[in-house]
């Protein structure tokens, strides 16, 4: 992989750069150009084939689409939100896109490279049901502490409802997300301790045939 992404990602480098920026008042030209052109090139096809469960052709198609929208090879949060919002013209999908971004950005460096992208998709589309449930749990667990609290779930729910926008039938009420969260917790929280752990989550989902079926809905997306 290029030196560049590693440079971009190192926090020490970032701190040094910001200090330099503070002292001199601006980024020096080559720093600017490097910072702007922080391109990333993904690993080779063979390595990606080993790491993910996609075939060679699928990886090719995925990369072509990825590179088309992000020529620099990495997606930052703004790009991500903008791309995702194109699919939901009626509502505001930025919050949910942020949560998605955090779920894809596994090393939390603020950008999603093609490897992150493809790794996430591999779990969602080609992983076992448990893997997918794990991934969904990871999405809901905003602070990644291993359990979903009602507040976290409420945030997620509100972001999903935001995507519907204003013009819905029946009209969206303020309490709708909260009620949905309550019903969710009623279903998932076995020991009624106010949080849903990963085991409770997987167990409850496995009992629900709707969820089981819908988890496999997008298998043939690629």
């Amino acid at each position: 992989m290029n030196r560049c992404p590693r440079r971009c990602r190192s926090p020490l480098g970032q701190a040094a750069r910001s200090l330099y920026q503070l002292v001199t008042g601006s980024l020096s030209p080559d720093e600017v150009s490097l910072a702007l052109m922080c391109r990333a090139r993904p690993e080779g096809l063979e390595q990606l084939q080993e790491q993910t469960k996609f075939t060679r052709k699928e990886l090719q198609v995925l990369y072509r689409g990825f590179k088309n929208e992000c020529p620099s090879g990495i997606v930052n949060e703004e790009n991500f939100k903008q791309i995702y919002s194109q699919f939901f013209p009626q509502g505001d999908s930025s919050t949910y896109a942020t949560f998605l971004f955090n779920a894809f950005d596994t090393n939390h460096d603020g950008s999603v490279s093609f490897e992150d992208f493809v790794a996430g998709l591999s779990v969602i589309l080609r992983g076992t049901i448990d893997d997918r449930l794990n991934w969904a749990f990871n999405l809901y667990d905003l602070n990644k502490d291993g359990c979903i609290t009602k507040e976290e779930m409420l945030d997620i729910m509100k972001s999903i409802y935001d995507m519907m926008g204003k013009y819905t039938y029946p009209a969206l009420r303020e309490e709708a997300p909260r009620e949905h969260v309550e019903s969710f917790f009623q279903k998932m929280d076995r020991n009624k301790d106010g949080v849903v752990t990963i085991e409770e989550f997987i167990e409850s989902c496995q009992k629900d045939e709707n969820i089981m079926r819908s988890m496999q809905l997008f298998d043939n997306v690629i």
């Binding site: 791309i83 969602i124 997620i156 009209a171 709707n210």
Partner: protein, 636 residues
């Protein structure tokens, strides 16, 4: 949805997995990818230049030539490529459109050639990207004007058939070269305007003396002659004005136009003078009215293009002139104050007050220097010289700027208006595209429901009422459908939303109609309607006899106007009774789907059944009238 992000649709669909554990209802089935074949390169040979691209790239726009099966007509079996005998330069832009989703207009291309190529490939020019849209529109407008000029000059040579008398008159007025009569009229009016202006001027010239009294102006000496001339001119002008008023295509607009106001103002003094002839009190006011006769000179602007342009540029330059005036006023006030206080000490000073000093300041700053007011004190002279020096600067500097502003502002105004009009159009296009994509989903929903209804009905005709959607579109709609299922709410468009809000606010009293709802067996929530199929006849249905087509009725969604909590609770009990398998969440979920007003074929509209006959038992008759204009549409 831009084509560029079509490549990310699989990602968006995969990300929908985040909704699955949260949703309480089953998700709709995904559209099947019927002809999923491996992506292949296809070769497009355009007049010898070979372009290659993926098949899926071209299929992003299925209603163009390259995206549909129309290109098969151009397939060359021998060379296994698609051959087009067209311009390869423009084809480059067309192919880039498929790749990037943005259509560009190359500046060196001729606009009509470009339009021809776009028409050939089935691409609407309206989707040209914003970067090139202005240029395209400008060129198009120039071309259109050129065509119009050509047409006009052609038309002027032939006799235009069958214009009404009124229209011919208007054309004659506006364009004097159309006929000899118009030309004669044009010159006659011009002559009389000149005569009128000259008489006004000559009227005031002292014209010899009557012995024994002072010099008289000619107007009073030959008053009869001048009066006759005036009358003749005013009569001509009045006739002309009335004729123009009669011939104008839009009388209201004509009356409001500047030229007609000038006409009116030019002839009013005469008539006012006729009316109040010998009243001595108002004769003073009457005299000042005569000054308005000078407005007749403005009537020349109909005869002179230059005057019109001058007037227009002055109007457009008004802000500049206003600024000049404002800065001048500031300087005048400053200097007048200073001079007044400087000259206050001297005796017999003409600078009696600050407004009196205004005159001195203006005369000095414009370097006129009449000399009727001069400062006498030393301080006054010093400040007076400063005043004249600064006058040179203040006046001389903005004037060239204004002069150069004339052409700049003139052209700039033209361009700014163009840009503003295009900006509105551009924003409108963006809005239309946005609503288009959401409307596309609503539209396809209706069509999907409708086709399902038709399938249920078993009617072979009218299979596909909606236009065919590409696979990508159907996948996108499936994604939006999943979101609806997750949240148990439906997407509707703005008008329906307003209507719903109005209705729900109108029906705020507890409804006695809730029992009436029981008469509609199909009243289930959308997501659970599949389950409702199990229950063929709800025990609380009051209209079993009329439900002949039970299959259809089961999947019928009735449309309600209101959604009060009282209704849901009352109905929820009915639902639970009837449908044990229903998930508890559906109890709180809302009633039916959007109000969809498609003109369904009569077979589908059991409109009569929505109003159960009065004889049937139960309070079924008080169905809200709002629901009467509502159409039943089959659900999934």
């Amino acid at each position: 949805m831009a084509a560029g992000v079509a490549a990310w649709l699989p990602f968006a669909r995969a990300a929908a997995i985040g909704w699955m554990p949260v949703a309480n209802c089953p998700m709709p089935l995904a559209p099947a990818d019927k002809n999923k074949r491996q992506d292949e390169l296809i070769v497009l040979n355009v007049s010898g230049r070979r372009f290659q691209t993926w098949r899926t790239t071209l299929e992003r726009y299925p209603d163009t030539l390259l995206g549909s099966t129309e290109k098969e007509f151009f397939f060359n079996e021998d060379t296994k490529e698609y051959f087009f005998d067209r311009d390869p330069e423009v084809f480059r832009c067309v192919l880039n459109f498929y790749r990037t989703g943005k259509l560009h207009y190359p500046r060196y291309e001729c606009i009509s050639a470009y339009d021809d190529e776009l028409a050939f490939y089935g691409i609407l020019p309206e989707i040209i990207g914003d970067c090139c849209y202005e240029e395209y529109k400008d060129r198009k407008r120039e071309n259109a004007e050129r065509l119009m000029d050509d047409n006009d000059s052609e038309n002027n040579q032939e006799s235009v058939p069958s214009l009404s008398f009124r229209q011919t008159m208007w054309r004659a007025f506006e364009n004097p070269h159309t006929s000899t009569l118009a030309l004669v009229f044009y010159y006659v009016t011009g002559f009389f305007i000149a005569v009128s202006v000259i008489t006004n001027v000559v009227e005031t010239v002292p014209c010899g003396t009557v012995p024994g009294s002072k010099e008289l102006p000619c107007g009073e000496r030959y008053s009869v002659a001048f009066f006759c001339l005036d009358t003749a001119c005013v009569m001509i002008f009045t006739v002309e004005y009335l004729l123009r008023l009669f011939a104008a295509p839009s009388r209201y607009r004509f009356v409001r136009s500047v030229m007609s106001i000038i006409d009116v103002v030019a002839i009013m003094p005469y008539y006012i003078g006729l009316v109040m002839t010998n009243n001595e009190d108002v004769s003073g006011a009457f005299v000042t009215l005569r000054v308005f006769r000078v407005f007749r000179i403005f009537k020349f602007s109909r005869h002179s293009q230059g005057l019109r342009i001058l007037g227009y540029t002055l109007k457009s330059c008004a802000s500049e002139l206003g600024f000049l005036l404002f800065s001048l006023t500031m300087a005048i006030i400053i200097f007048a104050t200073v001079m007044f206080y400087a000259e206050k000490g001297s005796s017999a000073s003409k600078f009696t007050s600050i407004p009196a000093s205004f005159w001195y300041t203006i005369v000095t700053m414009t370097t006129l220097g009449y000399g009727d007011m001069v400062p006498k004190t030393i301080a006054g002279k010093i400040f007076g010289s400063i005043c004249s020096l600064s006058g040179v600067l203040v006046i001389a500097l903005p004037v060239p700027v204004i002069v150069s502003n004339f052409s700049r502002i003139y052209h700039q105004n033209q361009r700014a208006d163009k840009r503003r009009a295009q900006k509105k159009a551009r924003l409108a296009r963006i809005r239309v595209a946005k609503t288009g994509s959401s409307n596309a989903y609503l539209h396809s929903k209706r069509n999907g429901l409708l086709t399902e209804a038709l399938e249920l009905m078993g009617t072979p005709e009218e299979e596909h009422m909606g236009k065919s959607t590409s696979l990508i579109e159907s996948q996108h709609h499936h994604l939006l459908h999943c979101l609806e299922k997750t949240t148990n709410h439906e997407f509707i468009d703005e008008q329906m939303f307003e209507q719903n809000c109005m209705e729900s606010s109108m029906q705020n009293y507890p409804s006695t109609r809730s029992p009436s709802l029981s008469s509609h067996p199909g009243l289930t929530t959308t997501c659970c309607s599949r389950r409702s199929k199990k229950t063929t006849h709800l025990p609380n249905s009051n209209l079993p006899a009329t439900r002949l087509r039970s299959m259809q009725e089961l999947s019928t969604i009735h449309i309600q106007g209101s959604e009060q909590p009282s209704l849901t609770t009352s109905r929820s009990s009915l639902n639970l009774k009837a449908d044990d398998g229903l998930r508890p969440n559906c109890k709180t979920s809302q009633i039916t789907t959007a109000i969809i007003s498609i003109p369904t074929p009569p077979a589908l509209t059991p409109e009569g059944e929505s109003r159960p006959p009065p004889a049937s038992p139960g309070p079924n008759t008080n169905i809200p009238s709002i629901a009467s204009n509502v159409v039943k549409v089959s659900a999934l």
